[in-house]
């Protein structure tokens, strides 16, 4: 998730404190609280599955890149850093497959990209 959930939750905590004060204009309070509620809903939806998504995705991309290894440290920040490294390498691999006209490899990479967006899809997403 970008921005990271941790920094968003910290920001929302401060925002809720601010809106607890009596002198916040009602329209601004309504806007802040409505959006905060929506963001908390998204965070709640992602809480349980985020680590699983990253582990599954990292495993799939390592397979495509021919890399060995598994995620040993399951902290989200560590999984995300590894995910970023692997997805950057996947971009290079896909561009190389396009340049080489390697259709089978392109298809395999597209299949993983489609799967990755399905894993990350929010229940309220428009697409």
């Amino acid at each position: 998730m970008n921005p990271p959930v941790v920094s968003v939750l910290a920001e929302l905590a401060g925002l809720l404190m601010k809106n607890a004060a009596p002198d916040v204009p009602p329209a601004e309070r309504a806007s802040d609280l409505g959006l905060s509620a929506a963001l908390l809903g998204v965070a709640a939806e992602m809480w349980d599955r985020q680590a699983h998504i990253l582990v599954e995705e990292n495993r799939a991309i390592r397979g495509l890149l021919g890399e060995a290894g598994e995620d040993a440290d399951l902290r989200l920040s560590v999984l995300k850093a590894e995910n970023d490294r692997l997805r950057a390498a996947l971009i290079q691999a896909q561009a190389a497959a396009e340049a080489a006209g390697d259709v089978a490899r392109q298809d395999a990479i597209w299949a993983e990209l489609v799967a990755s967006t399905a894993r990350r899809k929010l229940s309220t997403a428009p697409v």
Binding site: M1, N2, P3, S7, V8, E11, L12, L15, D23, P25, P26, A27, E28, A30, S31, D32, G34, L35, S36, A38, L39, V42, K80, N83, D84, R87, A88, L90, I91, Q94, A95, E98, I109, W110, L113, V114, T117, R120, K121, L122, T124, A125, P126, V127
Partner: protein
């Protein structure tokens, strides 16, 4: 408790109304949303020729850091270009480009009061009977924008060559993604490579491009009439298919899959636009511009996240588009590339 901006805004406007006295600003409140500008409504009161008067107005002020970085002069002049035409826009009153009066640049405009903009409300089911009428108005007005003479805005906006429109826009948004992305975006990068390898034909004409023409950026009434086209901050000169492609890009269906803007089929929307504009929407060119607009959307969403991550603007409105739309935008690209 009065908003702290009220006396400062009243003092500014008093300086603009030479024939007025007792200028007041009251009921100033921030309107929800407004990720690229802070938007407030307020009531201006004044005395003129011995008579007390009042008018509902809008203040649009630059935030400390924005979802998109644009010139308020460009937005102001784009609105003014359509004043008195069949494209309904609020009257622009004053533009202030300095930081002195209200800390950030701003403009003041007429409030078109009494109508709704919310796409969730429009697509809730309550307005289903008038959605065809909304669709007809929406893409007819966009056709009028496409048809309009861009000459009055050349003073404020760069005019690309007809065969350079696509490259200027793609270069711009790719550079923003390069600058703002916080994580690799494989789908978006693949779409950019495809767009560069398969450029569209030159634009049929140079048009004024609204830049954010979608469901949610117009004011409608219960009868399905459109009374105002809003949010011109990304307006520029370019290929008229750019706006049509933005209006058709899948995230603006708001989950009503297969419906352009959540309103009607894409074929119907394009036919309405072609009739109103007198232009042709070549399917291959329109596909290019629709996919391009997915890349542009991604540029906006990652830019929104970047503004939050850098600390320039920590408002929740900067987070929600990124969380809600970055993955959805990738899925829209996959759809358009025939992968989903």
């Amino acid at each position: 408790m009065p908003h702290t901006l009220e006396p400062r805004l009243a003092a500014y406007i008093a300086g603009k109304l030479s024939a007025a006295s007792d200028v007041t600003v009251t009921a100033l409140e921030r309107i929800s949303g407004g990720a690229s500008r802070e938007t407030y409504r307020f009531v201006l009161g004044w005395t003129e020729s011995g008579q007390a008067r009042s008018r509902k107005l809008i203040l649009r002020r630059d935030p400390p850091a924005s979802l998109i970085d644009t010139e308020r002069r460009v937005e102001f002049e784009a609105y003014r270009a359509f004043a008195g035409t069949s494209v309904p826009v609020p009257e622009m009153l004053w533009l202030e480009e300095g930081d002195g009066p209200l800390d950030h640049p701003f403009f003041v405009a007429e409030e078109i009061a009494g109508y709704q903009a919310s796409p969730q409300m429009l697509l809730s089911g309550a307005f289903d009977a008038v959605l065809p009428k909304v669709a007809a108005a929406k893409w007819s007005i966009l056709g009028e924008i496409a048809k309009a003479d861009p000459a009055p805005l050349r003073q404020w906006m760069d005019a690309p060559s007809l065969d350079g429109c696509w490259q200027r826009e793609l270069d711009h948004w790719e550079a923003l993604i390069d600058k703002d992305q916080a994580e690799p975006l494989p789908v978006t990068r693949a779409a950019i490579r495809w767009l560069r390898a398969n450029p569209p034909p030159p634009a049929q004409k140079l048009s004024i491009v609204h830049g954010d023409y979608r469901t949610g950026n117009f004011l409608f009434d219960p009868a399905g009439e459109i009374h105002g086209i809003l949010d011109w901050e990304m307006s520029h000169l370019g290929d008229p298919l750019e706006d049509l492609g933005w209006s058709l890009q899948p995230v603006w269906s708001f989950g009503h899959t297969g419906k352009a803007g959540g309103l009607c089929s894409q074929e119907e929307a394009v036919a309405i636009w072609e009739r109103a504009s007198g232009l042709m929407a070549d399917p291959a060119a329109l596909h290019w511009w629709t996919l391009f607009n997915c890349v542009k959307g991604q540029g906006i969403w990652v830019g929104s996240a970047a503004a939050f991550n850098r600390g320039g603007n920590r408002a929740p409105i900067m987070i929600y588009p990124a969380w809600w739309l970055i993955n959805a935008q990738d899925r829209a690209m996959l759809q358009l590339m025939g992968k989903l």
